[in-house]
C-alpha cells in the first residue's frame, strides 16, 4: 500500500506542483487537502508546500494560519503526526506557533532564487533519517521572507535542544538568517520546516536530487507511524 501524504492547498500555494512531484518520486501518494476542509482524509503525514498563501501580502503565512485546514493540522501535529512545512509552509508553521521563531524579510530586501547548500544538523529525525551522510545538500531557495529570527536566548535554547535541523552551508546563507538556520524542528520532533526546496531537488535532470533524502525520510517516517498505529517520534535531546 502506498503512503498517503496530504499536501495542503491554500489559494496562492504554488509549489504544490513540486510537492506532488517530489512525493511521487519518493514513492508516496500525494493527496490534496483543500484549505477550507477540516478533514485530513486519512493521510499519514502532512506537507505544507511553498507559495504565497492568500497572497502573502501582509506577512508571509499569517492568514493561512486561520484557515480551517490548519486547525486540523494543528490537532494532527498535537497527536504526533508528521508535518513538514517548506518555504511558505515553514512560514505558516511559525505563524501558527507549531514551530519556533519567525521569518523576516530577506536581509538584502530582495527576493532570492538560487541554488544553496544546506547541512543537516541531525540525522536521527523522521525528516533526515534517510540522508546518507552529513554533507551539504544542494537545492534551490526562492523566497522574499526567509530570514530566520529568534532572540539570542531562544536560539541558544534551540541549539541546545537539537531543534536546529538544517543550516546553510558556509557562505551560502541567502537571506541573513541568524546563525545560518535554514530549518528547525519542534521539541517533540514531529513538526519541521525549512526555507529551501528539497521537494524540487529530487531528480538529477532538475540539477540536483539531494532533496530526495529529506522527502523519503518524511514519507517513510509517516508510513512507519501508520504501520505502528502511533506516532514515530524521536525524543528531543
Amino acid at each position: 500500500m502506498t503512503t498517503r501524504i496530504g499536501v495542503v492547498i491554500f489559494p496562492g500555494s504554488n509549489r504544490d506542483i513540486d510537492a506532488f512531484n517530489g512525493l511521487r518520486v519518493a514513492g508516496a501518494e500525494p493527496v490534496e487537502l483543500w484549505h477550507e476542509n477540516v478533514s485530513l482524509d486519512g493521510v499519514v503525514g502532512v506537507l505544507i508546500p511553498g507559495g504565497f498563501a492568500y497572497g502573502d501580502y501582509l506577512r508571509a503565512g499569517v492568514i493561512a494560519r486561520f484557515s480551517p485546514v490548519m486547525r486540523s493540522v494543528a490537532e494532527f501535529a498535537a497527536d504526533g503526526g508528521l508535518v513538514l512545512g517548506i518555504c511558505n509552509g515553514f512560514q505558516v508553521l511559525t505563524e501558527a506557533h507549531l514551530l519556533p521563531g519567525a521569518l523576516l524579510r530577506n536581509r538584502g530586501l530582495r527576493f532570492v532564487g538560487r541554488q544553496v547548500a544546506i547541512t543537516p544538523e541531525r540525522l536521527d529525525t523522521p525528516f533526515t533519517r534517510l540522508i546518507d551522510e552529513r554533507r551539504p545538500l544542494r537545492m534551490p531557495v526562492a523566497h522574499g521572507e526567509g530570514c530566520y529570527f529568534a532572540d539570542d536566548a531562544s536560539l541558544d535554547q534551540l541549539e541546545r535542544d537539537g531543534q536546529v535541523l538544517f543550516r546553510y552551508a558556509d557562505g551560502s546563507n541567502p537571506n541573513g538568517s541568524l546563525r545560518d538556520v535554514a530549518g528547525v524542528i519542534n521539541a517533540s520532533g514531529n513538526v519541521a520546516g525549512l526555507m529551501p526546496h528539497p521537494e524540487t531537488a529530487v531528480e538529477a535532470v532538475l540539477g540536483s536530487d539531494d532533496g530526495l533524502g529529506i522527502i523519503r525520510s518524511f514519507v517513510e517516517g509517516a508510513a512507519q507511524r501508520a504501520a505502528a498505529g502511533e506516532p514515530a517520534l524521536v525524543s528531543s535531546r
Binding site: P11, G12, I17, F52, G113, G144, E199, T200, L206
Partner: protein, 777 residues
Amino acid sequence: MTLAEPPVAQDPREEPLHRRLGVTDDELDAIRARLGGRDPNELELAMFSVMWSEHCSYKSSRPLLRTLPAGGDGDDALLAGPGENAGVVSIGDGLAVAFKIESHNHPSAVEPYQGAATGVGGILRDIFTMGARPIAVLDALRFGDPSSARTRHLVDGVVRGVGGYGNCVGVPTVGGELVFDPSYEGNPLVNVMAIGLLEERLLTRAAAPGPGNLVVLFGSTTGRDGIGGASVLASATFDDDDPSKRPSVQVGDPFAEKLLIEASLELIENGLVEGLQDLGAGGITCATSETADRGNTGMRIDLAAIPRREPGMAPYEVMISESQERMLAVVRPERRDDVRAVCERWGLPFAVIGTVAGDGDIAIVEAGHEIARIPAAALTSDAIVHERVAAPPLRRRPAPAPGIPDELTGRLPERGMDPGAVLLALLGSANLASRHPVFEQYDSTVQANTVAGPGHGAAIVRIKGTTKALVASTDANEAVGALDPWLGAAMSVAEATRNVSITGARPLGVTNCLNFGDPTRPDAFWQLAEAVRGLGDACRALGLPVTGGNVSLYNESPAGRIAPTPEIGVVGLLGDVALRVGPAFAEEGDTVLLVGEATPGLAGSAYAALAGVAAEDGPPALDLAIEARTQAFAREAAARELLASAQDVSGGGLAVALGEAAIWGANDQGIGARLRLPVANSPAVDLFGESPSRLVVSCRPRRAPAVALLARQHGLAVEELGAVGGERLVIELGGAGATGAAEERGSRVADALDVPIRELRHAWETGLNRALGWENA
C-alpha cells in the same frame, strides 16, 4: 496598454472630443461610415478611441504583418496562429505548447514596478485563456545608460515587478535579456514572453458562439485603473478634470491572477465554457467585441451588472477600464451555476453581464435604455487601417565617435592592446556580464520542470510524464538594427533560433514583439517595414511560422527614438531531454572545434561599443541558407550524441563564447582551454566580431572526425582549435590575418590571448553589479 498616440492639443478644452481622444478627423469619418452615417455618441467614441488606438487595432502595422509566414505550408502542427491570444503548436502525445511575447513599455516607464508586474500578468492571461497552464516566463528588458540614476531606478523597479508578479503566481522565470543602449534612455523596453502547456483537446477559443449564451465576467472588480492609458484619454477630461480621480496606473494583484489561472483552467477542463477571453487593453470593450466578432455574433451588455470597485463610474469608464485580473467567459445558460460554483471555490467575483446576440452588434444597455450600439467588426477586424509612408533615412550610418582615429580601431588588439584585456573588458561590460543579480530575484525553479534556467543560454523546461522538453530563447539585435533594420531583424531570428537549435531542439515557431518609433514618421515606418521584411525572410529561410506577436510603436522620447528592436521569442522541442547539449566545456581533453567562418564587419558589435569602429565599417553579413545549415548541423550532432558542448558565437564574438564556455565549464567550476585560432580577417574581427552562423562545439577527441565530417556534409567550414583543459584560456593567433598585424605589433604585445579562468569569472560575475552600482546590495 501603451500611450499609443502622440499628444494632440495645447488646450484640450478647445479641441473637439474625438481629437482629445486621439481620433483624427479622417478616422471620425471612417467611424461614421461604420455606423451607417450617424455620429457616434460619447460612449461610442470612447469605445472606438481605445479599439482604434495603435495598440489595439494595429492600424499601422497590419498591412506589414500580413506578409509574415503564418504556417500552413504543410505545417499542420500549428493549432492557433496570429490573431489568437497566443500561438499554439502541437508537440505530440496529445499535448501542445502556447506561447507569445508582449510589451509593457510605456506603463513601465511611468511606474516600473507596476508596469512590469502587470506586463507579466497580461501575457500570462493570454496563455491560460487558450486553455494552457503557464509553465515559463522570459523577460526581455532594455534600458539606457546603466550608470544613470533614472536607469537604475527603472531597472530596480522593473526587475522587482517581474519577480513580484511571476514569483507569486508560481510561474518560473527561466530566461530573458537585459540590454543597455543609450537609445532606451527615455523609453525602456519591457517585453515579456510566456509559455504554456495544454492538452490539445482543451484548446479554447476566444470566441462567443451561440446567440442566447450568457456573457460572464469573473475575477477582479472593475475600477478606474488604466483609464487614460489607451489613447490620449489622459488629456481628455470629459466633464471632470480632477486628475486625482483618474489614476491611470494599473496595479497588479498576482494573488488574484493565481486564482484566475486555477479557476479558468478548471472551467476549461470541466467543459463549462464555450469561449474565454482575458481582459487586457481596451477592457470590456475589447473582450466583448473581439469574442463576438470571432464568433460572428453580437452581444448585449447590461452595464449595471458589471461589478465595480468604486461608486460613480461613468459608462465609458466601465467600458474601457483596464482593471487587471479579469476574464470574460461565454457560458451556456444551463451551466451558469456550475461556472459560478467554480468561481466561488476560488473566491472570485462572478457576474452575468449580458447575452450573446445574433445581430453582430455590441449593444450597451443601462436601465433598460440602449446607450451604445456598434458593429463588433467595426471595433476589431474592420477597424481602420492606415497605409503609412516609408522612407529610408538620408544618412544610414552614424558618424564615427568623436576622437576615434578611424583606421586604427578595426585592428585594436594589435595596436598595443592585449586581447586578453579586451576579453576581460567585454566579459565585465554591462551588456555581457552575468545577469545573475537580476535573475536571482526570480523564482526560476517552481513547478519542478526547470532543467536549464537563466544564466547559460537557452532555457530548458522538461515536460513531466514524457521524455520531452521545451527550449526557449528571446533575442533582439538592436545594435545591428540601428544600422540596418532588415539585417537586425533577420539576425535576431537567427540568434534566437540558433540558441534553441544548439541544445538539440527543433524550433517550433517564432513569436515577436516589434518595438519601434512613431509610424507616422516615414523613416521610423521604414525601420518597421524593413524589420518585418527581415523577420519574414529569416523565418521563411528557416522554415518557421510566425505564430503571433505584438507591436509597440511610438517608442520615442525627448531623448530620441529607440533603436529598432524586433524582439524574437522562439520555442523549440527536444524529443529526449537526456540528449540535450549545454554550452559549457565538459571535461579535460575534449576537442574544441569552430564551425562556420568569421566574416568582416565590426559595426554593431559589443567590441565596437567598447573600442569604437572605423567609419567605413559595416555590420557583418548574414547568409540565411548558411544559418539554416548551421542549425541543422547542431541538431543532428546533438541527436547523434556527438557533442559535449555547443555554444553559439554572438555578443562579444568568438572570444566571449569561448570565455563563457570555459567559465561555466566542468559544472561551473571553470575549466580552461588551449587553442590556436587561424585568423582569416584580422584579430579583432576573428576574436571579437559578431558575424553570425558560427558555433563553438566540443567533443571527446575520438568523435572530432565525425563532428568535422558532419559539419562539412552540411556545407560548413570547420576548424579544430585545440583542447579543453587547464586553468587558463589560451588562444594563440595564427594564419594569414595575424601575420600582417604582427609586423606592426612591436614587442610590447602578447602573441596570444592568455587569461586565467579565475580572472574571466571575476570580471563576468561582478560586471553587472558594478555597472548598476549594486555592489553593496
